[in-house]
């Protein structure tokens, strides 16, 4: 269960990173497309557009994307262009905003429409909204799965402890009659559960670590543009390590409470 829980927690962490990264991309950057002019008066128009964009409140930077970069972006669709190709290429302006959550791309579009008719503002929403929804769902499912695994662990420990209580009933009754306080008897079961939980958690965490390392290694061999960021940060390690630690604490607490509740039934 620790193995499954650790893996699921790792997936939740990765989904969370992707979600935040894509969300920042969605709201933090925009691309302005200026259609080419037939009479070649593009330079003045571009300067006018840049001036307008930089004047919109909330815009941090606005930079023209070099024609060579635009050509490279189009290369997968139209192939390598010859140096003397006279193809009308749109001008692209990369815009970064200060506060992504406070910025409205419609304000920028309205400001541009009066100065540069035909300019379009692309906030990447169409491409990223679906991905963000998917990552959000994966994250929610992963968290629900971790909770379900935790609940299953609690149920398993309750049944195991009850079996232990039934098996050791004569010993428990003897200790009870000798004057052992409930807390003392519960601590014996708690210690046993701690040792078992530690062993199981260590094993589960080790196998999960190997599995995660293998997945991360395999992912480096794939085009990373298709995959979310799999890099593990120190905080992520803490979150994933919290699974076995929580499992051990959960096992101990469950065993203790189960025994205490059972002992109350004795005189």
């Amino acid at each position: 269960m620790v193995f499954l829980g650790s893996l699921t927690a790792a997936f939740a962490v990765i989904a969370n990173h992707s979600l935040r990264s894509w969300d920042n991309q969605l709201t933090g950057r925009l691309t302005i497309q200026i259609p080419p002019l037939e009479n070649g008066a593009d330079s003045a128009r571009l300067d006018q557009a840049l001036e307008t964009i930089r004047g919109v409140p909330g815009v941090a930077t606005a930079d023209v994307i070099e024609p060579a970069t635009v050509s490279a972006l189009l290369e997968p669709w139209i192939g390598t262009l010859p140096a003397d190709a006279d193809l009308p290429m749109p001008h692209l302006i990369d815009v970064a905003v200060n506060d992504p959550h406070d910025f409205k791309s419609t304000d920028l579009a309205e400001a541009l429409a009066t100065v540069v008719p035909g300019a379009s503002v692309d906030d990447h929403r169409i491409f990223l909204v679906g991905l963000i929804k998917l990552a959000g769902t994966v994250r929610a499912l992963a968290i629900i799965t971790v909770v379900i695994i935790g609940m299953s662990a609690v149920a398993a420990v309750v049944f195991a402890t009850r079996s232990g209580l039934a098996i050791h009933a004569p010993t428990i009754e003897l200790l009870h009659l000798m004057g052992a306080p409930d807390a003392y008897i519960a601590s014996l079961f708690q210690r046993h559960a701690l040792l078992l939980g530690l062993r199981g958690s260590l094993l589960g965490a080790l196998v999960a670590a190997v599995a995660l390392a293998s997945i991360a290694r395999l992912a480096t061999e794939i085009d990373t543009a298709l995959l979310p960021d799999l890099a593990v940060r120190p905080l992520d390690v803490l979150i994933i390590l919290a699974v076995p630690v929580t499992a051990v604490l959960l096992v101990m607490a469950t065993a203790r409470l189960t025994v205490l509740r059972s002992l109350v039934r004795m005189a």
């Binding site: 004569p170 010993t171 009754e173 003897l174 200790l175 009870h176 009659l177 000798m178 004057g179 052992a180 306080p181 409930d182 003392y184 109350v264 005189a267």
Partner: protein, 230 residues
């Protein structure tokens, strides 16, 4: 007026909806007293002992142990009372995974008193009951009589104020039985109140102690056998 370590007032006891095993049982045990508890099989001796060592609560009536009314004593206070009661169970109840020494030391461990000096005391007591050569033996390798002596040593190891023994000499020969009775008497001389449940009339007649006799769930208190004649 002598202090009573235990008092039963109009005790009735039944298991579930079954018949009443004990009826209107009333008696008191003065500190330092020694009683035999006798009666035919099914008379209620074991049930009476269970009430005395606080394993069960009565269906009706009042139980006072060491001056405390059990019916109003909080559950959390009962272990401290139980630690002052030593019990020799009829079926010994030794823990099979522990050695004789470890079984005898168990009440000390439960009380948090175990140390090396006490371990020496445990070994001496086991030697005194004739088990010097079986100190580290597991109960399953001991005879019935040897197990009984381990159970007795366990019951007396922490010098209880009240010692209850259910047929403690049932599985030993007469010589060992008398030796064990002398052990109980020694404890009694040091202030321990002793109740021995037994069928053994010969044993009862050898010692000058009063008898609590159960008959069909009712208690009759008798003077020592030597005062009644045989």
């Amino acid at each position: 007026m002598a202090v009573e370590v235990l008092r039963f007032d109009n005790i009735g006891m039944r298991y579930g909806v079954g018949p009443e095993i004990l009826r209107d049982v009333s008696f008191g045990l003065e500190q330092g007293s020694f009683h035999f508890l006798t009666g035919s099989s099914g008379a209620g001796k074991t049930t009476l002992l269970k009430l005395m060592y606080l394993s069960h609560r009565p269906s009706r009536g009042l139980v006072h142990v060491f001056g405390k009314d059990i019916s109003v004593t909080p559950r959390a206070s009962l272990p401290a009372l139980r630690r002052r009661i030593g019990v020799v169970f009829q079926d010994f109840r030794l823990l099979d995974h522990l050695t004789a020494v470890q079984n005898v030391a168990l009440p000390l461990v439960v009380s948090g008193l175990k140390d090396d000096k006490l371990d020496q005391h445990v070994r001496e007591l086991l030697t005194w009951v004739g088990l010097a050569d079986r100190l580290d033996a597991k109960p399953s390798t001991l005879s019935g009589g040897q197990q009984q002596r381990v159970a007795i040593a366990r019951a007396v190891i922490n010098r209880p104020r009240l010692l209850l023994a259910d047929e403690p000499t049932g599985n030993v020969d007469n010589e060992i039985a008398v030796r064990l009775m002398y052990l109980f008497e020694e404890l009694n001389k040091m202030g321990t109140t002793v109740v021995i449940a037994t069928h053994n009339d010969d044993l009862i007649s050898q010692f000058r102690h009063p008898v609590l006799q159960l008959s069909s769930g009712e208690l009759i208190q008798l003077p020592p056998r030597w005062q009644r004649g045989r």
